[in-house]
Structures are given as C-alpha cells and as structure tokens.
C-alpha cells in the first residue's frame, strides 16, 4: 500500500524532472534559433530595402539638337562644343515633353527629371557630334521622386500635401508608364559616382575609394608595428615589469571604446600635430591604433604556434637569435599573421565613430585620389544616408550596406583561404 504510493510519487517526480530537462533544452534551442532568426531578419531587411537601389528609372526624352538653340555649328571645335547651350535644349525638350503644356505644368514636369539631365544631353552630343540639327530620342535619368514612386517605395494613397509628387505629376507619370516612355535599368551611377545631394545620382564610388585609402593606411601602419611588437613580446622580451605593463596595456586598449580613439585622433593628430582633417591619412592612423591590439594578439598566437624545435634547430647550427627568429620563425608564422591582419582590417572597415570624430563626415561630392585629400568612408556614408530625410537615400543606405557586407565577406573569405592554404599542422 505505502509502497505503491511511494512508487507513484517517484514516478511522477521523475516525469516532472525529465520534463524539466526537456524544457531546459528547449529553452536553449529557442534562444539559439532566436539569435539566428534575428540574423536572418537583419539580412532580409537590408536586402529587401536595398535591392531596388541597383536599378534606376530612366525616361525617354526627345531632344532637338538645333544649332540655333545650341549656338553651335557643325564645324565647331571641341572646346566650343563643351560650352554649347545645352540647358536651352533641355528646356525646349521639356516644354515639348507632353503636347500643349501650360506654363505651370512645365514647372511640374521639370521636377520629374534629374538635375543630371543637362549633363546627359551634353554628353550624348559630345559623343555623337553628328546629331546636330536632328531630333534624338534619349533615355535620361528620372528624378528620385519618380524613381521611388515606380519602385513602390513611396505610396500614392497618402494625402497630396504629404507626397513629393502632386496629383498632376502623378497623372503625368502614369501617362509615361502607359506610353512605355519610362523604364528601369541597371543603376551604373551607384557604382561610379560619389555622394550627392540628389539621391538619383548619389553613389558609393567616392566613399569606397575613401575606405580603400583608409584601409591602405591602416595596413601600412599597423602590420609592421604589430609584427614588430608581437615578435618582441613573444621572442625577445625579458620577463619584467615593463613587459608586463606593455601586455596589460595591449589587452586594455583592445577594450577601449572606438569613439575614444576618435577623441585621441581629434585631440592629438588634428589639434597638436595639425594633420589635415577629413583625410584617409588621419582616419587610417586612428583606425591603425585601434586595430593594433587585435592584430598583435593574432600575430602572437601564430608565433606561439610555431614549434620551438624550429628555432632551436636554427640556434643549434649557429644562427644568432635574431637570425633564428627572422629567418625561420617569422616566415612560418606569416600566414597566421596575415590572417589576423585581415580580420583586424575588416574590423577597421566597419568602424564609423572614430571617423566621424576626425571629420570624415563632411559632404564630399567627388572621388578622392590620394591619402591627404578629404574623403568619406563607406560606413560614414551609410550613416549620412540613414540620417538623411530624403526617401531616396534609404534604399541607397541599404545598398551601401550590401556593398560593405560583400567587401567584409570577401576579406574574411581571403583570411579563411589563407589559413586553410598555408596553415601547417605541426
């Protein structure tokens, strides 16, 4: 009697306990899945917001290259052609864009075109000078508002005063769609142009080059210093207070918030040393100091992985310590140090806050060509576009994120490749 009650109790307790066990395992599994789901959702958000930025909307415009309007003749020199009155041609083309436009409507129609249209009309002409005195059908870039509307990023069912395009403009756009005078093509501007105030002609080329120059500076500064420091600490440093101080310093620097490095750059590199603001040189120096601990830690790990027998062998046949280290240990550790450096560079590529501090946030509408020229960087460009009120910049920021993620992915792939290809198991 008593026995069976106790048995039942034990069985129910065991059931409860194993249920508890299951539940706990399930919690862990859910937590892991949630973390991964967030990752998927994040990537999905970026892709779904950004893929439209790789297309731009173009409009078919009939342009009359009349020599009277252009103030050119068929045998004008190239220099004269550069100075042709293309804005007048454009004005005329827009006036005749739809039949019987009233004056107020012309203004509205003009807003359907990008500010870059003048340029496009001009370049079409400069490339084909024989079109003078003929009418040409040219595809030109549409304004960002039209672009966003046709991509479905801005809605038409909101009240008119909260829309970028009013009802008349909407009806014109619809007419264009019906007459197939508008289409979407690959957005080459996104990859060939620098930042702009106008979303339809803003691109990542400028900030991409800025990031490349910055990374170049980071590499030049941090790689030799990191190798030197890790070789010293791993192979030569005597065990004393100073060495310990250096090691503590390195591990603490790794945890200093990046924005503090920005303050260092501002307070020391710009204000004390007077280096030029907003340049990849300063940005790269700050990021080099920031990534130095990461690279040093990776370099030391790969130096440590080289078996001591190699060094001892070199010492035994009469090499000095310096020779043994630099001729035998360092070359063997080099793939590992390179992998560590690339991972450090990847970290530097995504860093935004220090670059803002040293002024790489300025609006730079041209593509930089050197280390001492003011330039933007990819992450800062993304920040500027995220903060921008213009609707058209949102898809640009998502697309720029895709560019930076692909860049990061490639760097990591190279690091993994190097590791797998050259890493030796001892």
């Amino acid at each position: 009697m008593n026995n069976s009650v106790a048995k039942e109790k034990i069985i129910s307790l065991r059931k409860k306990r194993s249920l508890e066990d299951m539940r706990f395992k399930y919690y862990g599994f859910t937590a892991m899945c949630l973390s991964l789901a967030v990752l998927v959702f994040l990537l999905y958000t970026i892709f779904s917001k950004g893929y439209t930025a790789f297309q731009k909307t173009i409009v078919l415009l009939e342009v009359d290259y009349d020599q009277e309007v252009l103030k050119l003749t068929p045998d004008s020199s190239d220099e004269e052609m550069e100075k042709g009155k293309f804005f007048r041609v454009k004005k005329q083309a827009i006036e005749n864009f739809f039949p019987d436009l009233s004056k107020s409507d012309i203004k509205l129609v003009k807003k359907l075109f990008s500010i870059n249209v003048d340029n496009e009309i001009k370049h079409y002409f400069l490339d084909n000078p024989e079109v003078i005195n003929t009418k040409q059908q040219i595809w030109v870039t549409a304004h960002s508002d039209v672009d966003q509307l046709l991509k479905g990023n801005s809605r038409r069912d909101v009240p008119e005063d909260r829309r970028k395009l009013n009802d008349i403009q909407l009806s014109y756009v619809d007419q264009l769609v019906e007459e197939k005078r508008v289409k979407q093509v690959f957005n080459n501007f996104f990859f060939t142009k620098a930042d702009s105030r106008h979303p339809e002609i803003a691109g990542v080329a400028g900030s991409f080059m800025g990031s490349l120059f910055t990374l170049f500076t980071v590499f030049i500064l941090s790689f030799p210093v990191a190798i030197g420091a890790s070789v010293y600490l791993e192979e030569f440093a005597p065990k004393n207070r100073i060495t310990e101080l250096i090691e503590v310093n390195i591990s603490n620097l790794a945890a200093v918030p990046s924005i503090v490095f920005g303050l260092l750059g501002l307070g020391v590199l710009l204000n004390v040393f007077g280096l030029p603001r907003s340049t990849p040189l300063v940005g790269g120096s700050v990021l080099a100091l920031m990534t130095l601990p990461t690279i040093i830690i990776a370099c030391r790990a790969s130096l440590k992985a080289v078996p001591p027998s190699i060094k001892e062998g070199a010492l035994a046949v009469g090499a000095t310590k310096t020779q043994a280290v630099f001729h035998h240990v360092v070359p063997l550790a080099l793939p590992g140090t390179l992998t560590g450096t690339i991972i450090g560079l990847a970290q530097a590529l995504g860093e935004t806050a220090p670059l803002i501090m040293i002024g790489m946030i300025a609006f730079i509408p041209n593509i930089p060509t050197g280390l001492t020229e003011p330039s933007a960087a990819l992450p800062v460009q993304i920040y500027l576009w995220v903060e921008s009120a213009e609707r058209g910049f949102q898809e640009k920021s998502a697309a720029a994120i895709m560019v930076i993620l692909i860049f990061l992915f490639m760097m990591n792939a190279i690091a993994v490749f190097l590791r797998n290809r050259f890493e030796r198991k001892w």
Partner: protein
C-alpha cells in the same frame, strides 16, 4: 611634399645599401682580410644610419611645420586696435587666401599681407625641408661609412638596432594609452575650468548652448550630465535584458546539448553577427525595430517616440549576443569534466547538472563575460546615434527618447568645433568618463576571469 620626399628617402635607402655593400668589399680587399660579418650587414648598417635620421627629420617636419608657420604669421599680424579677432577663424581665412588667390577679393589688406607671408614661409620651409633631408642622409651615410672596416662587427650592431626597433614597436601601445589619457585629461581640465566638476557629475540639467558670439544673449549653458548617464544606463539595461538570457542560453545549448555538427555550423553564424559593422545595426534599428516599437507602444496605449531607448537597446542586445555566448561558451567548457560526471553519476539529469553544478562553478567567468559585454554596450556609438535620441531626458521609461554619453560626444563634435567653447570641450569630459568606466569594468572582468581560470587549472 608627401610623395616626393618619400621618393627621395627611397632613393637614399637604395643607394646607401649599394654603397655600403661595395665599400666593405673594397675595404676588405684592400686590407686583405675577411670582414667579420657578411657584406649585407655592413650595407644594412649604412642604410639604417641613412634612413632613421631622415625619418626623424621627416616626421618632426610634418608635425611641427604648420604650427611654427602659423605662430610666426600670427605674431607678425598687424592687429587693428579695438577690433576683436578669433585666432582660429583668422588663420583659416589666411590659409584660404594663401591657397586660393581668388578668395583675396574683398579681404582686408592685413589678411592679404599675412597670406603672402604665409605662402612665402611655406616655400622656405619646403626648400629647407628637402635640403635638410638630403644633408641628414649624407651625414648619416658618412658617419656609417667610417665604420666600414673588416674588423667591425656589423652584425652585432645591426641586431642591437633591430632590438631597439622592436622595443619601439611594442611601446606604441603605451604611447597610445598615454596619448588617450593626456588628450582626454588636458581638454577635460579646460572644460572643468569653466564648468564645475560637481555640476557636471551631479546636476540634472543639460543645455550645452553657450553663446558663441559675444553679446549674444542666449541662456547660459548648463552641463549636468546625470540625464546622459541615466540614458546610457537605461539603454545598457535594455540591451543586457535581451543579450544576457539569449546569449547565456545559446552558450549552454551549444556547450552541453548541441551535436558537434550543430556547433560547427552555428558558431560561425553567430560570429557573423559579431562581425557586422555597428552602423548596419543602427540602420536595422532605425528602419525595422524603431517603427515596430512605436507601433507596439501604441497598441498597448503607450505613446512611444520614434527613437526610443527600447529600440536602440534591443538592437544593441542583439549585437552583444555573440559576445556573451562565445565568452560564456569558453567558460562553461573549461568547467572540469569531473564535476559533470560526478553530478550525472549520482543521478541528476542534464538540466539539473547545468543549473546546480556547472553554472555555479562557472559563475565568476560568466559575470566577467557580462561585465565585458556591459562595457561594450556603454561604449557603443552608432546604434544609439541613429536609433536613440539626441535630447537629454531623465526617465526610466524605455519607450521614451533618451540620449547616451557616446551620442553627446558625437553631437558636440559634429559641425563647428570651437575649442574655446565648453560645448565642444564637454565631449572630452564625457569621453574621459566613458574611458574610466570601461577601463574599470574591463580590469575587474579580466581579473575575475583570470582568477576563475586559475581555479580550474
């Protein structure tokens, strides 16, 4: 200047190497004895004596040239009695005119004079720069070449020099720390000369708007940083509420339950989460999470602002999940297997073993991981800049707009930087607070983890 001087130095390096090599061969042939070291070491010796003095000249020139020229220009500037000058603006104007003569129209005669003075000084500096680099390189090579005798131990000397170079490389970390500490303290002292430190640390009003021009009667700025600290704390708490359970449970699952195959696939995926740039999280918070939080707040009747502590904190939490999970994973894995086996052996099931044995044993390490994560969350900038607000707000409601230390640093330094204005300097005081707190957290965390490791080794 930058490019051509590098070319000059490169030419110097190359020719000094060749020179050193051929010279020692010649000398040893002349004396009829073999040199003590290989010829390359003598060449390296000449090279180092040629290169390093030149580099020192190069960098000191790059660092001090602009400062010295500016000082000379300012000290020779013909100030007009009674007029008020702002030195920074004046210098910018002079530089503009000097670099771009078309800006000279409409500028006063003093400025144009100063600009031409400035450009002539720059020219003098350029010429003397190149000559001094050449002279220094020649002197270095000359000094070194006197030592190029067969009985000179070039290799020993070179190895000693290499040691010095390596020591210099490793002390860069110390210089960086010194640079951080000094720049923060120096500018903060200037800030605290105008704003009392007690006001900064304990007052609750943050209106950093100081009249920029004299005579402009705006309200006096007040710099009480309590709302900023409170905002930082709130965002950090939200982030930890997301990251601590998710990260820890993920770590437990991966360490104790998951099959090796799951471990092998999930760990790199989590590392992707750690490798994503923070501005991307900022975008995510701004575009997806903040609107969601706002809609959620409205649906339960709370008026949420479009940028809220909750949105920023949640996304920040996601960012530090991999941080917590990988650190905790390490810690859990380093709990000795014998503890696990003992617990399982007396009949505890897995969940009980984890809860009653492994977690208590791993607790110090987990606390250390959390402290490191907190320090990371406090120092994080881009997520909060994009997704939390810029207006200070002393509140405990996560649906409201708050601001953080990092946001205020960015806000104070975007745009015009006036280093005689407490508004700009406040960034350095806030940076100092941030630096001290993160350093403190980091040291404690590392200590805890270290002691924990020692216990089981």
């Amino acid at each position: 200047m930058f490019f051509w001087s590098l070319v000059l130095i490169a030419v110097g390096i190359f020719s000094s190497f060749i020179y050193g090599r051929s010279r020692i061969k010649l000398n040893s042939k002349k004396q009829g004895t073999k040199s003590k070291s290989l010829p390359n070491y003598y060449a390296q010796y000449v090279l180092m004596w040629c290169l390093f003095p030149a580099l020192i000249v190069y960098f000191s020139w790059a660092i001090f040239q602009e400062q010295i020229i500016q000082n000379i220009v300012i000290s020779n500037f013909e100030f007009i009695e009674g007029a008020v000058y702002n030195e920074g603006l004046l210098l910018a104007e002079i530089r503009n005119v000097a670099n771009n003569p078309s800006f000279a129209d409409g500028k006063s005669i003093e400025i144009i004079n100063a600009a031409s003075h400035y450009s002539s000084l720059r020219q003098i500096s350029q010429i003397s720069f190149y000559t001094s680099i050449i002279i220094i390189m020649l002197l270095g090579a000359l000094y070194a070449s006197q030592k190029l005798k067969p009985e000179f131990h070039a290799q020993h000397t070179i190895e000693k020099y290499i040691q010095y170079i390596l020591i210099f490389c490793s002390s860069v970390a110390i210089f960086t720390t010194i640079g951080i500490v000094f720049s923060l303290i120096f500018e903060s002292l200037r800030f605290f000369a105008e704003v009392s430190i007690f006001e900064f640390l304990f007052s609750t009003e943050w209106y950093p708007f100081i009249p920029i021009r004299e005579g402009q009667t705006a309200a006096e700025g007040s710099f009480g940083a309590v709302p900023i600290f409170a905002g930082t704390f709130l965002v950090m708490v939200v982030a930890m509420c997301v990251a601590a359970p998710l990260g820890l449970l993920t770590a437990i699952y991966l360490a104790e339950y998951a099959s090796p195959r799951v471990r092998k696939t999930v760990k790199p995926l989590l590392e992707i989460l750690a490798g994503i740039p923070t501005i991307v999280y900022g975008f995510f918070a701004f575009v997806s999470v903040a609107p969601f939080v706002k809609a959620f707040g409205q649906s339960i009747g709370i008026d949420a602002s479009p940028t809220s502590a909750l949105a920023a904190g949640m996304v920040m939490g996601v960012m530090i999940i991999p941080f917590i999970s990988s650190l905790s994973d390490d810690v859990i894995n380093s709990v000795p297997q014998s503890l696990r086996e003992a617990s399982l052996g007396i009949g505890a099931n897995k969940a009980e073993t984890i809860k009653k044995v492994i977690l208590p044993a791993a607790l110090p390490g987990i606390v250390g991981a959390f402290l490191l994560a907190i320090s990371r969350a406090i120092g994080e900038t881009m997520i909060v800049v994009v997704a939390a607000g810029t207006a200070p707000n002393l509140t405990g409601n996560p649906f409201e707009n708050v601001t953080t230390v990092t946001v205020q640093i960015v806000v104070a330094l975007i745009g015009d930087q006036e280093f005689d204005n407490p508004r700009t300097l406040s960034a350095f005081a806030l940076g100092l607070v941030l630096f001290v707190i993160t350093l403190f957290l980091n040291i404690i965390a590392l200590q805890i983890v270290k002691r924990y490791r020692e216990r089981y080794e």
